[in-house]
Amino acid sequence: MIRRESILGKLTSLHWFLLLTIVAIAVFGTAILFSAASSAHNLQTGKPDIHADLAFNHAARFAFMLVVAIALSLAPLRLWASLAYPVYITGVVMLVAVDVAGVVVNGAERWLQLGPVRLQPSELMKLAVPLALARFYHQMFEGGRNGMWIHIPALLVVMVPVALVLRQPDLGTALMILGTGLAVIFFAGIGLRIVAAVMALAIVAVPVVYFFALHDYQRQRVDTLFNPAADPLGAGYQLQQAMIAIGSGGLAGKGYMEGAQKELDYIPEQQTDFIFTIIAEEFGFAGSIAVLLAWGVTLLQGMDIAGRSRSAFGTLAGSGFVATLALYVVINIGMVIGLLPVVGIPLPLISYGGTVMLTVMVGFGLLMSIHLNRDSNMSLRGVF
């Protein structure tokens, strides 16, 4: 008989279905990245043209982060909660530091160079914000404070990093942090009337933001969304080519490694933000829907795990991370298929890139930790 509290006991009671889904998506992502760099027959030689390094790196990163995630899942929830504020405060300090001494990449300051390591603190905030909010609410509820006023400091916790990230400027990440934070506040029970009022305000604010708050290049991306054909060689080029690739995939796609748009380098950033175009071109509508379904299943499981936790911290942190994932998927696919402006958000577990892999896998570690600790109605009294 294995004791439940032992490491072995914890491992056996991991959320295996969630793990399996993640692995499935990541394996699919690896295959897609393999295809992104290779082609079944080189147009000049006719022979297969294989470049496996992208896929290999992706798989290696995923395998490493999977071990990290499982290790993190074994950490007690109390540890997550106790780290929430320090991580949040570190993140905010680093965001300020980026503002002061950041590295400019593509005209936006997003990176902080610390020795050999390049950090992107805005990415950290995607997890730090829901964690900090969850701890805040947990302690509030524990202390019996549940008036509407508690949402005001919570909103402050959200807005500080959002404002800093917007300054970089990184609209996509700022929107994701804002969305995640507002989702946690929503789950924490803010009045529906206030929610309705905020949404009404947001709708009114959209044109104001468009005309007064956006940078020129951001406004151009929005314009492009509504009329991609107007400037096919400029801002609309990437989107136009992406839609051609997706549309020409049809129902069943052109087949694995047979995508032609891909082979001719028509779509910039195809292995990162625009990876979905390869899925849609090579696997068609069926493949696109499969990806949506896989992510749908993942999110449902996430919400299920969050809902089963007996602690407010677990429920709110878990659902906050699920909201982050949902935003990733909706914004990425939405922008690639021309429903949302192009803001530079990758598709988790499939897009090539280390940062998003790190964020998402740590998040899954958190989710699995919440699952293992679902029955503990922990007290955070005495924790700083």
Binding site: F187, L251, L264, A312, S319, I337, L339
Partner: protein, 662 residues
């Protein structure tokens, strides 16, 4: 723990999930729209995306002479290209170029240009390494190609000029187009269809033309007929379907038979290539030009300028040193002396002065002057070339002996305005549009001309200089040929033309010769006949074109009638005249007099007119007249005007099914 909160959570979660479901639904609907409803549309776009139409250079039209000999044709061109991206790094490219240098004649400067191109241009573009290769060179590269990464040996077409230097000026040559040529061709093309350059259609056309002229096989006419008729000769480019990727790299060529272009129009010139060659050989090492015209039709039979470079060396690009040498040559080989060269007509102009004096009534046919070798006018002496004087001369003997004193007086009496008007009637002072680039009008001076060009009134003393074809007076050899043809009469004498078919030359604005009485014309011809055929004539040794009676009828024993001219290049001072004029033989070549001669033959029933200018040739009667005699004798022998000009279309017309002429 708050009861409120945990009771609320399930409903909040449901709201969240419903919201998520709506978004997933929106994504699904959009994907269905793109992939299921509009799939076919995007598939077409994807294909269009990848297939580019590249211009394929059309077959350039051939230029024939009047007998169907090819003056400018196309030959097979073996050429070699290098694609840097296939060769490898820049060091690899340099190595390949070195290897090529051992197999092919490539100069060091050409090698540097290739390496520069490899560095600066997109690496997937072919660089032309060498063209116009011999079959042996081509075969050697083909054999070695597998070891030379990125090197391709190809076969195309290249312009060739079988008569070498003979038609450098008149037919011209083609060369790789530079940016200025491309701009010029875009302008010409847009003008020809009346399109504005800033409309979408105009911009598309400009792009297509730019792409066409950037093709390694494409050339543009730079001079002569080649340049003038570029649009017609060029034809319509075909298109090659190529598969390209996003950066414009050609991945594959696709079948493109259905979009072949239209070959350029063939052209036929009125020139007789053999006679032109004969004239050039007759000039030998002399520098000058010769024009022969058909008096009946106005067709130009010979239009040459010598010396000339070989136009073939321009087609593949002439080296800077060779070109500099041509520029520096004091015999001006790059200059079309017959069309662009203006010379004082000298004594050949006396024909016009005589006509002006007679027609204006200033003198009557029997008017005579006494020539003592010089005459006093306006405070200075005007000299006759014959220091001892000609005695008493009238129009006939003055023409025969080329007496200057008579024509000083004739010009003075007629007045400059009458002389100028008569010069224009005989075809001087007008730029003839023949269908080639260049062309000068020369100068027929009068009071108005002098006021607008020199801001000064006309002085009567200047009329005297014009009277012997000097002073401000200047004319091209072509104009002198026209003048001779007009004196000779004949229905087509006024209508000079060079292009027999293949290109439309802008309407000519030449006024026909009218208002000159037949009596005057007879006297001019008689005077010119006396020059070559009556004792005492300046060119009496050159008059007989057929001393042995070998020419076919009606040219047997033909004689020519002509007029010599010797045009001074330098001013002879009074001091020099006093101490004795320096003889031409003692002068530097470039200071010697030009030798001119104009003539028509046969004298009694003129058929051909000819003008020759031998630059610094010393004496018109001694140097130029024998050349004219030999050229006209050869022309009479060949009699090119008796046969219609070659028609390349005729061969096509004789297709089966054509009935007998009824």
């Amino acid at each position: 723990m708050s009861r409120d909160w945990s009771r609320n959570f399930p409903s909040r979660r449901n709201i969240f999930l419903i919201g998520g479901g709506v978004m997933w639904g929106a994504l699904t609907v959009r994907l269905a729209e793109l992939q299921l409803l509009r799939g076919r549309e995007f598939e077409t776009k994807a294909t269009e995306n990848r297939i580019r139409l590249d211009p394929a250079p059309p077959h350039r039209g051939t230029i024939y002479d009047r007998a169907g000999r090819i003056l400018a044709g196309n030959k097979r061109n073996f050429y070699v290209t290098l694609r840097p991206e296939l060769a490898g790094s820049l060091q690899d490219v340099a190595k390949v170029v070195d290897q090529l240098g051992r197999l092919l004649p490539i100069s060091e400067s050409k090698k540097r240009t290739i390496l520069q191109d490899a560095q600066t241009r997109a690496r997937f573009l072919d660089i032309l390494v060498a063209d116009d290769l011999t079959w042996e060179d081509f075969a050697r590269i083909n054999v070695m190609a597998p070891e030379l990464a990125g090197v391709t040996a190809e076969v195309g077409e290249l312009r060739s000029y079988p008569y070498y230097a003979a038609f450098y000026h008149t037919v011209g040559y083609v060369q790789r187009a530079n940016d200025k040529d491309v701009t010029r061709m875009i302008q010409a093309d847009l003008d020809s269809i009346g399109e504005q350059p800033d409309t979408p259609a105009g911009q598309a056309r400009a792009r297509a033309i730019r792409r066409l002229y950037k093709h390694p096989q494409m050339r543009v006419g730079k001079q002569g007929v080649e340049a003038f008729a570029e649009i017609g000769l060029k034809g319509e480019p075909g298109k090659t379907r190529v598969l390209v990727n996003a950066s414009g790299r050609v991945i594959d060529r696709l079948p493109s038979d259905d979009i072949s272009g239209r070959p350029g129009d063939d052209m036929v010139l009125t020139i007789d290539a053999e006679l032109q060659n004969f004239a050039i050989q007759r000039f030998g090492t002399e520098s000058g030009s010769c024009v022969v015209m058909d008096v009946q039709s106005g067709e130009i039979i010979v239009m040459m300028s010598t010396p000339a470079p070989d136009p073939n060396q321009f087609v593949s690009g002439i080296s800077q040193t060779a070109y500099d040498q041509l520029l520096k040559d004091e015999k001006n080989p790059l200059y079309h002396k017959a069309y662009d060269g203006t010379y004082p007509p000298g004594s050949t102009f006396k024909v016009v002065v005589g006509a002006a004096a007679l027609e204006s009534g200033a003198v009557d046919p029997d008017f005579s002057v006494r020539c003592t070798g010089r005459t006093w006018f306006g405070g200075r002496f005007f000299h006759c070339w014959e220091k001892r004087g000609h005695g008493t001369v009238n129009l006939h003997t003055a023409l025969q002996k080329s007496c200057d004193i008579y024509f000083y007086e004739a010009a003075r009496r007629a007045g400059i305005e009458n002389v100028a008007a008569m010069a224009r009637k005989f075809g001087l002072g007008h730029r003839y549009e023949l269908g080639l680039t260049g062309g000068k009008a020369g100068v027929v001076p009068n009071d108005a001309w002098k006021r607008s060009n020199m801001n000064e009134q006309w002085f009567e003393g200047e009329t005297l200089s014009v009277g012997i074809g000097q002073g401000y007076m200047s004319a091209t050899p072509l104009q002198l040929a026209v003048m001779a043809a007009r004196v000779a009469g004949g229905p087509g004498a006024g209508n000079s033309r060079l292009i027999a078919s293949g290109a439309k030359v802008a309407d000519q604005t030449i006024a026909p010769l009218e208002g000159v009485s037949e009596d005057t014309m007879q006297r001019l011809r008689a005077g010119m006949f006396a020059v070559t055929s009556e004792a005492g004539g300046t060119a009496v040794r050159a008059g007989d074109l057929d001393p042995q009676g070998l020419l076919p009828a009606p040219f047997t024993h033909a004689r020519m009638a002509g007029k010599s001219g010797t045009a001074q290049v330098r001013v002879i001072s009074a001091a020099e005249r006093a101490s004795g004029v320096i003889s031409n033989a003692d002068l530097a070549w470039r200071l010697r007099d030009h030798a001119l001669f104009v003539a028509f033959a046969p004298a009694e029933a003129p058929r051909y007119a000819c003008a020759v200018v031998v630059e610094h040739g010393d004496s018109g009667s001694r140097v130029a007249a024998p050349i004219v005699r030999d050229v006209l004798a050869a022309t009479l022998k060949a009699d090119p005007g008796s046969k219609p000009a070659y028609s390349p279309a005729r061969q096509v017309a004789s297709a089966p099914g054509d009935g007998e002429p009824t």
